[in-house]
Structure formats: C-alpha cells, structure tokens
C-alpha cells in the first residue's frame, strides 16, 4: 500500500458498487485492520476500500436464529446486540476482541477453539452478497439454514483475503449461547496433553473446546445446561486426573469479563466453576469488550499468564502471538500435530488437539522451514503476523487445485485489481 492511496469509505451497497465500477486500478479491501498484515504482503494500490462504515444488523430473526449484517460490523458488537436473545455466532477467533469485522473474519477464514464443534465461519455462513471488481452485485445462499439452491459463493470468498470480491452482506446461522460453561485446566506438556486429549475425544464427554497452550496448559471447556454441568465437570476431572483444576475464568473468551469477576483464582470445585459460568452466560454480550481489553493488554513475550486469569483471553493472546516475530497458522491431521509442533522453533503456540489447527509464533527466519515441515506432514500453512516490512514467504507449496484458483480469480477479477500480492507466488 502506498501513502498516496485514496480511501473510499462507502456508506451502503450502492456506494460499494460505485466504488468498484467507477474506478480502475489496484485496490485493497480493508476492515478493522486486525489482519491487515496476514498472508502475502500487499503490492501498491491506488485505493483502499474501507468497509468500516458498512455496519449494523440488516435483519435478525430470533425465532429462525439467523441474522444478516453489513460486513464492517465488528463481531463483538454483533454479539452485544444478539445477547438479549441469548444467541451468538459460534465463532471465537482470537482477534474478535480486537474489533475484527464479520467481513474480515470471512475473508480470512478465521476460527478459534469453538471450531472443535462448530467449525469455522464457512460452516455458519448461509448467505452472502458480493460485489465483484467490475461492480457486479451477486447474491448467493439465503436466509434459511438449509438451502442447496445454486453455488455457494460464500465458500469462494472464505479465505480469499480480499482478492476475489468485496463481501457486502453476510447472513449467518446463530446458535444459543450456552446456559453454562466451565473450563478445566491441566498443567502438562504438549505430549501429555495429546495423550489426555485422545482419551477425552474417545469418550462421551463432548468438550466444546480442547486446546493446549504453550504456557503448558491443557484447556478443556464444557458447555451446556447448568443442571448437568456439575456432573459433567466431575467426569472430566476424573478423566484428567488430580492435577486438573477448574479455571478461574469463564467458559469462553467472550464471557471473559463477567466470569473473571465471578471466578477469580478459585479452583475449589466443579460446582463453583459452574455457578460462576452460569451467571456469565446471560452477560455474554456485555462481557465481550472486557475480554477484549484483557486480551489486548496482554502480550506474549514469554509471560505465562498473558491476558490475566481468564484462560481463554490468555489463549487468544497467545494465538495473536508476538508481532515482533512471525506468526504462522497451521492445519494438519490432529494426530500429527504434536510431533510437528515439537519439530518447530516455537516461541508461543496454541494447538487445537481435536481440530488439528495450531497457531505458532516463531523467529522470522524460520518461516520458510515451518512451511516446508508442515507441508511434509501433509498440512497447510499461512503466514499471519510478520515483523514490520519483513519479506517472508506467506504460503507453502501451492495446492494441486491452484489452476482452478487462478481461473476463479481471472473470472471474478480479470484485471487483477483486488488485493494484489496476497497470494504471491500462487496467483
């Protein structure tokens, strides 16, 4: 991006269309900027299309549990609005607390620990309105959760990093905010955590999240009805052994504020944890910003407790990583993840032991080697943060379908206007 780039800040769909139709030349699509440095370094652009004026709910149908929103809406703000209906989008990506927008989260295909049950945004987006580089407005999907009519264009832009189209509206499936949640922590190495995780996943407890963090903790979240939580927590603690304690924080990073107050450092027992989390459930929305503040304040820098007492705020901080180093997102068969991570020069990491998705902070000089090792293990990787201005390889070897990717890019954006450089050297 050059400092001379014009900033276009459309106020509605018509202005988005005009911004694309009435201009030529390379263009960057920008939201809140929480992932501005992810993937390939952006080549110089003539204009920046800023989506942050396109905010707010278009329609929320509580009974149908669907919502359509404008793309610049911060997901945290959307959760605030949905809180009174005890509904939310089942997504807890680490940067939500920093103000990440719905459009940006979709364009980066981001997800958090809840992916264990709910997957990433690709699994809850039910409709999308796109504006192509030539100003064509195209809608796909709809407002119902079950729908197979036409191609699913939301999937085309999921993980497209602003290179294929402007996301102008997103329709999402909602889920009920769990009535209660509790997190159990087990201090252990990654190898031990993997063993415990295999036991947990082979059993009936159905955790809502199961993550290892590089401050040597296994985090296991249980969500559900308050009445059943105590018994379920007791079963999990039995499975994890005597060293497992109920964490001070609440069940999810979104609940961070409410529960941090309720829980404190109390590891006394399942019932306490359950009670605290239960109270936090209703305050979900209100707690978002509090959680965010915690997370933003905490760095990584080797601190064992970045983000305070809430385990998920700490997890989010470790996932966001150290901006002075390089952060790489990795996906690999879950059983291969522990050995893969052990082979990398990890400075900080969070690892989804059921999902196979990890985020690692590594020295900038190690990024090429990380891509190579992940690829050798059959996985995929993409660079997230990098030291300012550093030229690091953003992607590993191209997938076999890279020819199709190029063809779709050419079909949507024949003049190569959008997000130049993001997929360098693939396309």
């Amino acid at each position: 991006m050059t400092s001379a780039a014009t900033v276009l800040r459309p106020q509605d769909l018509g202005e988005v269309q005009a911004a694309l139709r009435d201009t030529t030349g390379p263009l960057q699509i920008a939201g809140a900027g929480t992932a501005a440095t992810w993937a390939g370094l952006l080549a110089p652009v003539d204009a920046v299309l800023d989506t942050t004026a396109l905010t707010g709910v278009i329609t929320h149908n509580p009974g149908d549990m669907t919502v359509s929103v404008r793309p610049g809406t911060p997901l945290a703000a959307l959760h605030d609005e949905l809180a009174e209906h005890a509904q939310h989008v089942s997504l807890d990506a680490a940067r939500i607390a920093e103000g990440a927008t719905v459009g940006g989260l979709l364009a980066t295909g981001d997800a958090g620990p809840a992916a264990l049950v709910f997957g990433s945004l690709r699994d809850v987006v039910i409709g999308v309105t796109l504006v192509l580089a030539d100003g064509t407005v195209a809608r796909a999907g709809g407002h119902v959760i079950k729908n197979v009519a036409g191609y699913d264009l939301a999937k085309v832009v999921h993980g497209s990093y602003g290179t294929l189209a402007v996301v102008a509206e997103v329709v999402l499936r909602l889920h009920p905010v769990p009535k209660a949640a509790v997190t159990v922590e087990l201090p252990c190495s990654l190898a031990e955590a993997a063993e415990v995780a295999a036991r947990v996943l082979g059993g009936p407890t159905e955790p809502a999240a199961l993550e290892w963090t590089s401050d040597d903790l296994l985090l296991l979240r249980i969500e559900g009805t308050a009445a059943a939580l105590e018994a379920r927590t007791a079963r999990v603690r039995e499975l994890l052994g005597a060293a497992a304690v109920v964490a001070g924080g609440s069940g999810s990073s979104r609940d961070a504020g409410g529960a941090a107050g309720a829980g404190g450092a109390d590891g006394a027992g399942g019932a306490d944890g359950a009670g605290g989390a239960d109270g936090a459930g209703g305050a979900d929305g209100a707690a978002i910003n509090a959680g965010g503040a915690d997370g933003a304040a905490g760095g990584v820098g080797g601190a064992g407790h970045a983000g305070g007492d809430d385990p998920w705020a700490r997890h989010a901080a470790l996932t966001r990583g150290d901006p002075a180093a390089a952060v790489v997102r990795i996906g690999v068969r879950p059983s291969r993840l522990p050995a893969l991570l052990a082979s990398l020069p990890v400075m900080a990491a969070t690892a989804g032991l059921g999902t196979g998705v990890a985020t690692v902070t590594v020295p900038a000089g190690a990024v090429a080697d990380v891509h190579a090792r992940v690829h050798a293990a059959g996985g995929t990787s993409v660079l997230r943060a990098r030291p300012a201005g550093a030229h690091l390889p953003a992607w590993g070897p191209p997938p076999s379908a890279v020819g199709v990717l190029r063809a779709v890019k050419h079909a949507f954006d024949p003049d190569d206007r959008l997000g130049p450089g993001r997929f360098d050297p693939w396309m």
Binding site: H143, A401, A411
Partner: protein, 484 residues
C-alpha cells in the same frame, strides 16, 4: 447413435471395451434418476474402475467435446443425474471401496460409489458414525451426497454433507485430478472444497472423499408426540428452539403422511391425529436427560394428546422407520406422487402449510406433508393419478409450492438439489447477475460446459426463450435485504 464409433473406440481404449456400454437396451437402465418424469437415453455408459480411468474417460470427453454426466446410485430426486443427449454417463458404481477408517483422527477415506450407510457400518466397531443421514442412506452414494450436499433428519444439530466432508479428490472437466480441501477445517486460500460440495456434478467428478466421523453419542432420547393441530406442533418447535435446545432431530408429519406411514410399516403412529412430532436429543447422558425433561414439558404445555417415549433402541428404530418410510408409503394411498423440497424460515411453517393446503384444494389434489421442522425444510408430497390425466396439474402444483417457499423468504431446495427439476425456477430466487456470477465459477472449472450440462441453471431450451422473470425477493421488497 450420435456419437461416432471413433469416440466409442477412444473410450474403449481409455477403459476397456467391456467397460463401455453402447447397447441401447442396456443404456436405457441409466435414462433417469429418482425423478423418473425426465428421461434421456445416453449414447454410452462408462464404468471406470478407478480414479485414473475416470480421468482418462473425461480426457476423451474434453478432447472430443462430449458432454458427460456422473452417476452414483441414481437415487437423486431432482434429475441431477439425467443423461444428456449425444453424451455419456460416467458411473462411479465400481469405485466402491472404503480405503481407510482412522479411529484416532476420526475420519474415513472413501471412494464415491460407497453408500452412505456403509460408512457408518464400517465405523461402528470403533464407536464412530458418519452423521448425514438422508432417507435413502441405505442405497445412495457418498458421491451423490457430495454433489447434492445432502442433509437428512439429523442435520439441524450436525449439519449437512458440507460440514462432514473435509476434502475431495476431483477429476476436473479437462481430465486433471486435483484435491480440494485438507485434513482440517483450515485451508490455505479460498474454500474450493465448499464450492464443489453441492454443485450437483457441474464442476467435476468426485473420485475420493475424506469424511469426518463422529463419536456415537452416549445417550439418545426419542419421543413421538401427537398434537391437535399443526399450529400446536409448530409452537412446540418454536419453544424448544427458544429454550436454547438444539435437538438432534425434530420432524413433523401431518395426518395424511401419518396414515400412509402407519399403514405401511405399523410403527405405532396414531392414525387420524392432525400432527405428530418426532423429537430426538443426543449427547452426554446428564445433558441429554435434563433437556429431554424440558422438551416433554413443552409438549405437554401445547396440548400434546399422546406422548410416546422410545424405551429401547428397537422402539426408537420403529419411530424412525415410520418417518423414513413416509415417502414410499404414500404410494399406498395414491398411485403417483411428486416430492417437493422447499425451505421456509421455521417461524413461517404454519402459514406455509395453510397456503399449501389451499393450493391443493384449488387444484383438487391431496398433499401429504413430512418435514424437517427444525430447519423449515418441507417435503410436501403431491398425490395424483397419472392415468386420470392429473400429471400436468400435479407438476404445476408442485412447482408452485417450491416457488411459494421462495416467496416466503426461503429456498427452492433444502437437500434434493435444483437439477433439471427446478432449474427453470432459479430466476425466482436469483437475479440475472447472481446466476451470471455463479456461471463465472462454472466456467472457471469447466470452460466448455461439458460437465453435467443443463442442470442447476435455467436454459432457453429447457425453460423457453426467456427464462421466468426475476422478481424482487420478498426480503428485498420489504427492505430486509439490499440490492442496487
């Protein structure tokens, strides 16, 4: 035959002569899928034995510009596997091996001709199963499920095929073999996997799939409840959802569907009641138990006239036998029927059923309703007698119901696909620009349009010179969505 013998020889060389069917009588067996009203006899039927042979066959199609249609078990209900004139059918029925069951990472690698249920059977010894369960799961193939993004009774909680397929190997229209998707939900770049899923065989032929396996839930609780009206049953659905409960399944049947199902399989349904609900919860025992009590209370609150709780696996199976047999069972009370597959927002269920009843009465035809109440996916069964000349009327009513669903803010199809059946209705749901953008995707995968042509998108040949005019979607008209 329109394809000349040189073309046939090229296919015979790519496969083997014995695996290329050209006898018109044998080819006739492939003339339609589960939507039997549309029939086209293909010129040739190819029976490749592995992915390499599929790729080789498609390369011949590419070189000689021969259109091709992939086919699994042929159980589809939208004419998605309808052959094209002067084209070939490529059957994946011989690609029927389960290549890997991985109980540690909970996934299976399968060929496309494997049936849906056989994946679950192979996974069962490990306490695992494959979640999507379309009614035809005993015979339908995973390849077809991927093409249609099939659902099933349990997709409210567990999602559709797209949520359970991590990666697929695809033969593209030029005969190259690629993989879309990865071993996790994390992908580097756009979700091409999710584009191929549900594209109804128009973007390539799937030759292998990696699917997620789920752990069999610790506890399953199922009830069958009778209600004095559809509206009362609908209120139960709303209250269950409002209570923050996501049932594994929540299915509704109306009086005609109940009668047909009960006559066919004697599953213990109450003949004559206006509406019946099946609600199934699953999960950890404590959780499931607490929520099941809540559901029972909600049923009673809304005037449930009979509450039958499955006391054993056999009783649960009987309840489901009735539900899953409902389509075929309708054949007992009517010589012919069409199945529709529209979706409406769940909160408009009672309203849409009233409208369907009125439309049926006007057409002088009976409509039985079986549907996935949790996600608003209707399966109205339009009953008619072809011998009495009612076919055209029934087709008209059936199409009208699908379009009514769009009018009510829903969709033409929840799980059966657009195929040939509803291609001409697509302009009711999508604008020219929407469809043209989807066609850009199509052309990126298949520039020559050889891969299952004539499906999904309206064509002048199929729909008349000018496909039906786009009308503002009702959500658009009411300002709930924006369009410029």
């Amino acid at each position: 035959m329109a394809l000349d013998s040189a073309v046939r020889q090229a296919f015979e060389q790519a496969l083997s002569p014995a695996d290329v069917i050209s006898d018109p009588v044998q080819c006739r067996a492939y003339e339609c899928d589960g939507l039997t009203g549309y029939r086209v006899v293909p010129d040739l039927v190819l029976l490749p034995r592995d992915a390499e042979q599929v790729a080789a066959a498609v390369r011949v199609c590419h070189e000689r510009k021969v259109p091709f249609v992939a086919r699994g078990a042929g159980t589809g209900l939208s004419g998605g596997a309808l052959p094209v004139a002067d084209g070939v059918v490529i059957s994946v029925s011989r690609l029927n091996k389960i290549l890997e069951i991985d109980p540690v990472d909970r996934r299976a690698v399968v060929e496309p001709g494997v049936t849906n249920l056989s994946i679950t059977k192979a996974a069962a010894p490990h306490g695992l199963y494959y979640a999507p369960d379309p009614s035809s799961q005993q015979v339908c193939t995973i390849g077809g499920n991927i093409a249609e993004n099939s659902g099933g009774a349990h997709c409210l909680k567990y999602g559709f095929t797209t949520h359970h397929v991590l990666a697929t190997e695809v033969v593209l229209a030029d005969g190259t073999l690629v993989t879309v998707g990865t071993d996790t939900s994390e992908q580097a770049g756009p979700d091409l996997r999710g584009v191929v899923l549900g594209s109804e065989g128009t973007l390539g032929i799937v030759t292998q799939a990696t699917v997620r396996l789920m752990r069999v839930p610790e506890s399953v609780q199922t009830l069958l409840a009778d209600f004095p009206s559809i509206a009362a049953a609908g209120d139960v659905v709303s209250d269950v959802v409002a209570a923050g409960i996501v049932p594994a399944a929540i299915e509704m049947m109306d009086t005609l569907a109940i009668e047909a199902a009960e006559e066919a399989v004697h599953a213990g349904y109450t003949v004559g009641v206006p509406a019946a609900l099946i609600v199934e919860l699953d999960g950890p025992a404590e959780e499931c138990g607490v929520q099941f009590e809540q559901v029972k209370a909600i049923c009673e609150k809304h005037g449930c006239t009979r509450l039958h709780i499955a006391g054993s696996a056999d009783e649960r199976a009987a309840i489901w036998r009735g539900r899953k047999a409902a389509f075929a069972a309708v054949g007992r009370i009517s010589p012919d029927y069409f199945v529709q597959d529209g979706v409406v927002p769940r909160t408009r269920l009672a309203e849409v059923l009233d409208r369907i009843a009125a439309m049926g009465a006007e057409a002088g035809l009976r409509v039985a309703n079986v549907f996935h109440a949790g996600d608003g996916n209707l399966h109205p069964l339009v009953l008619y007698n072809a011998d009495a000349g009612e076919t055209e009327q029934a087709e008209h009513l059936s199409g009208g119901i699908a379009e009514l669903c769009v009018e009510m803010g829903g969709s033409l199809s929840g799980e059966h696909g657009i195929g040939t059946d509803k291609a001409c209705s697509m302009p009711r749901m999508f604008s020219d620009d929407d469809l043209a953008t989807m066609q850009r995707v199509r052309a990126a995968f298949d520039p020559d349009g050889l891969c299952n042509p004539g499906k999904v998108f309206p064509t002048p040949r199929l729909c008349g010179e000018r496909p039906g005019k786009y009308q503002a979607h009702p959500l658009e008209a009411s300002g709930k969505i924006e369009r410029v």
